[in-house]
Symmetry: C2
Subunit: 124 residues, 2 copies
DNA sequence: TATAGCACTATACTTTTGTATAGTAAGTTA
DNA sequence: TAACTTACTATACAAAAGTATAGTGCTATA
């Protein structure tokens, strides 16, 4: 069975919708996950590079979030076999596809702010 | 200026992206928000109706989540002027538009699960 | 040999989020 | 009048999420 028809089949059951949303929420929830994913959308990075690009995150949190993202199949961790050892984090296929979700959120967020402003202007 | 051109203007600045995503995350994060929004996608509902449709949520949590959703401009709370007083919750314009975000999450979630299963089958 | 960078881990703590349970004020029905 | 429904609020607590700070083991460079 092709992936497309598998997807169509799964979509018939509404319970799957809830599970699917839960899976997506898992992937992006937490204070730093979206920042980390966004940073990796520009290409693979090392621990310290992510730390710099994300900002005020401390190593304990970064380590924890990276582990969760790896466990959820959003990023992969690869040890380059050179000396000194270099560890590179990058998005998986699924991880890259999260961009669509983020884009939907950006579109909604921008529209939402414009609608709110409009309502403020027109009294209430 | 039209909303569309306002949106285009805002989109030029990448900082707005982060704010937009944050706003969207605010709208849906929390254990019960997605359930509540999903329940209201089928039409306006009263407190006890939402409580039934969402499941094991307790009134303290439902009350808190509804207040946050109202504050964020996702739902509106309307007091019907009949006796006995009926209070109805419904999605705002913005709230309805969240469906697109949820749909993107559903699509991603289903694809993600299929990809994960495929990888399990093909060893690792 | 000392110092620095990398990729983390350990410990202790604070804050936020969620749960359990009971109670209240107002109106409705038997 | 008593019991019931609706739409919550109050109090106390448990669990999860996040922060601050220090330390470890490794390699590389001065």
């Amino acid at each position: 069975m092709s992936i497309d028809s598998k997807i169509k089949e799964v979509k018939k059951c509404p319970v799957q919708y809830v599970l699917a949303i839960q899976e997506a929420m898992n992937a992006i929830q937490g204070k730093w996950k979206v920042h980390i994913i966004a940073s990796l959308l520009f290409g693979p990075k090392r621990f310290s590079e992510i730390q710099k690009s994300v900002g005020r995150i401390n190593p304990r949190m970064l380590s924890k979030e990276l582990k969760e993202l790896e466990l959820n199949g959003i990023i992969k961790r690869e040890i380059q076999n050179i000396s000194p050892v270099v560890i590179e984090y990058s998005l998986t296929e699924s991880g890259c596809k999260l961009k669509k979700v983020l884009d939907a959120m950006i579109d909604w967020g921008i529209e939402h702010r414009v609608i709110s402003l409009k309502k403020l202007k027109h009294g209430k």
